[in-house]
Subunit: 315 residues, 4 copies
């Protein structure tokens, strides 16, 4: 809304369902999204981004938009490499990143990676109820906002930045969540961001070990793109992910994420982010293993035990 | 965002500060607001609206926008009369109404008054924390939305209406506030909307009696436009409203509304809406009377007593 | 329970209903209460206590028991004077004081007044829900506990003191209230005990001014015994206090204290202790004044105004 | 306090630490406890109770006191068999049962088993914070209370029963917990008591299977006395239970129960009662297994997996 004008081309990478929702959004905003397709089993295709930018001699592309952690697939894109590709191409496009399901769970460096617009929300790694969203904005993005022609009012950065200078908001903010945010940030800083990130890495690895022990397949094919926020698991052919999810909900009162778009009924998703300790993770995996058995999904027992073995040696 | 296109003219009535903020919004959205001025001491100028519409033979004006209850002045516009003026002029403009500080406090009839777009929020008469807003939309507005050219995504009614059909939202909603809303609506229906409105009317009249007993002037000059949500009170010349507010905050830990825009430091505002009983109102007025005395503002004592006299006969 | 043996005589002063409940308790515990009667319109009768002690050459009386603030009458006993009377008589009786409705509202000096056993609760000046009670105990009381013969287990100080040494309790304590207590004590210390006490004094005086302005009679006849926690107000002859209370509950959703024992239906009680600011007090008095009018109780209007006049000059 | 007189003999069974605390209590109350010893690895010794009663021709014993579920050992006494033994002996002693850690977790029949005094608390199976306790009392116990000579006031049933008739309490009750109790009872009735009990049985069996898979020893030796509220686990000789507990607290932020009295440092206790689902139980057992490994306690892995295997077939 803030940096672009109707008709602008934006380069996106269809890493999954949430990246696809950006397409819809871009089209509604009268932008021209150009999509690099993937098989939904890895992060953004950096060589393809590099190639698209190097082809774009006229700098028609105004922004490269990437979802940092694709919640529908459990694949995390390498924003550092996207940055390097843009730089190598000498291309002036803005870099915009959706960090909804990664912020405060997976390391992310808005400044070091020279991201121009970072978008985040309160309801994942920040451990709050939904209702707040955040933008981090580079000077380059602020400069672009002065020229951008998309009509905008509520989302406009300028009155927000002006009001924030004196500690105010241009509109009545969701005050209760601001108090909660203050507490969440204190909790994160008390634990230490490095510890928060390594806790998520450890829980993700424990989850993958459980999945492999069950003999199931992880949706993400590239270990460099494994998500530390969640793991999407593929069902054996002929078995319904939504059936399994319903079984687990009834059996253990646990609601797993469903497969979205083309992954519908083919994957289920295990979240392991935010306010989570090792015992909750073990309980979560226990619920999955009990559900696999109850739903008659072919698998080997011992997934939870594999997770425990890993966590015990690394907790 | 949903019914208009860039360059569309909209007719607005500058009843106060919040109506003025609509002007800013309209301009940011590349609309062409045309403003009917007032002295900020009454509601929307219906004859002037009628005249503007009758002059507009070409139907250049696409919408008439009115703030139902102008929070900056304590004046409530007569939406029924605005509706009648539009009908009398035979003008096809949409009627859009901001009910932020009136909904569930002052009677309002979206259907009977054939309003096309009603905008509301959670943080006033609905007695919730801020964080939710609402649109009520007429079929005529929905039809206009099909033709409207303003680029919109988050605010777009269409995906919201589609998702709501099955009880969902296109984006993660502020779930906690939805539970609170459910409770607030139950409370309002238990009391009965007629009782809720007459309670607000009674508290507003008690407040005005206090103000008059103090010998101070009510900002709203037209009794037909008196607000039942809040009362703005003018300071005697040479006395600072913000000074009085600071005195009261220090003395009684009560924060009154300030004068906005041209009314800065000239009025203070007493809110009497939402989850409020007679004793809280009496305490509120007591805090004002103690503050007037402590701040050395010329006034006659007895305002609270006048309110009590009125309430005792009518509570 | 801790310092006495069956058959021991204890000297009590029937200042009102709660002192009378001590009688019942003493009898159930097989003690021999000796009561000094009062007219329920003042605090403990110190000369009568002095006389009873001086007559008791054999030191049959083992304890003098006084309710600091008699909640049923709004009379506060002068514990300092009781102490002086015991000392003047050279009598070895223990001094035991019930501070349920005075602690943290009215100044009280367990050490300076050499009280032997102070009893308190969480639900009044400490601003907590009910569920905790407290004993402050002198060395003399601890010594008496070694000889006392009343069978006791849960109430026994010894295991409590032993466990407390290491931060524990002999039985599972009401943990949630301990967290609340920690917060309540912080609030009191932030305000400063001197300020807390003078706030209560000021609110009590404002209340009495309202009562006098209404032309009603304060139950407490001795200004040296006025309670800063609550004020009991006498109804004009032929008028029902409980009728008034019912009127006010219906009209303003405010529940006043009722008359207890012989004062049944003759007095109503206005609490003004704990987490209370000036505006809540004014609202409270407003509710009483509206109720007096609605119930047809003969009175002069202007009570609330008198309170405001006082508070405005002293807040 | 209510049914006995100083000097009365009471027959108790030292099933563990909490039964021992009853001894202390009885002695403080000037009763004469006679104790049947056990090895702390089973419930009350019914044949020994039968024998003691049959020897007591003079009916010196006034009450038989049993802890239903001994929280220190994880052994549940057979109250039905105790009842039968009293009846078989034709002995008039009252039957008193402590159900603190069994009520609403393990089936208990105050009426059918003709228990005279049942004691319970809010903080275990009722899922509330601590702060409430309960007595269920038989007509026989009420009759005994009329003759009993122990001095009592706060604990006295008579004023409580009188006040309860009209919905009141003789003293200010812990109101917040009464609201919570109302909700807890609703939750229990919604689930159905039979389901609540079988859930606890299932979780206890799953826990025992985990313990056996680890190769550790269950403190309770008699399967008829297995507790469904908690399981106490013996450490291998030479290994410290408190060391393991500290390891688990640090590693997983989970605090297990410690060994009490002679079991100090020899057992740790796994609670599995109250508001607990299968995934929390699996997480709990996972925390134990990780701790066993981290603390270097000799054990076989696979305990959690055994629990999952059992739960999956029975959940």
């Amino acid at each position: 809304m803030n940096t672009l004008s109707p008709g602008n081309a934006v380069l996106m990478c269809r890493t999954g369902w949430f990246a696809t929702l950006w397409q819809e959004m871009a089209e509604r905003l009268q932008l021209k999204p150009e999509f690099i397709e993937t098989d939904w089993r890895r992060g953004a295709d950096v060589p393809a981004i590099a190639e698209a930018l190097s082809r774009d001699r006229s700098h028609r592309i105004k922004a490269v938009c990437v979802v940092h952690n694709e919640t529908s697939t459990g694949c995390t894109s390498r924003i550092d490499e996207v940055r390097a590709a843009i730089d190598a191409a000498g291309h002036p496009a803005l870099l915009m990143v959706d960090t909804i399901s990664s912020l405060a769970s997976i390391d992310y460096k808005h400044d070091a990676w020279q991201v121009d617009v970072t978008v985040a929300g309160s309801q994942k790694g920040l451990m709050l109820p939904p209702g707040l969203s955040f933008n981090a904005v580079s000077p380059k993005a602020l400069a672009a906002a002065e020229q951008a022609k998309l009509p905008r009012s509520y989302w406009d950065w300028r009155p927000m930045l002006a009001a924030n200078e004196t500690g105010f908001f241009p509109y009545t903010p969701a005050t209760n969540l601001l108090y909660a945010l203050d507490t969440a940030v204190k909790l994160l800083l008390e634990e230490g961001l490095e510890n928060v990130f390594s806790r998520h890495d450890r829980f993700a690895e424990a989850t993958r070990r459980a999945v492999r022990a069950w003999g199931l397949e992880i949706q993400c094919l590239d270990p460099r793109h494994y998500s530390s926020s969640l793991t999407a698991v593929r069902m054996p052919p002929g078995h319904s992910a939504d059936g399994l999810r319903a079984t687990i909900l009834g059996q253990s009162n646990m609601s797993l994420g469903n497969g979205l778009g083309p992954l519908r009924d083919q994957v289920f998703r295990i979240g392991h982010l935010g306010d989570l300790g090792p015992l909750s993770l073990i309980g979560t995996l226990g619920g999955v293993e009990m559900g696999l058995r109850a739903a008659g999904v072919p698998h080997k027992p011992g997934g939870v035990q594999s997770a425990i073995d890993f966590l015990a040696g690394n907790a």
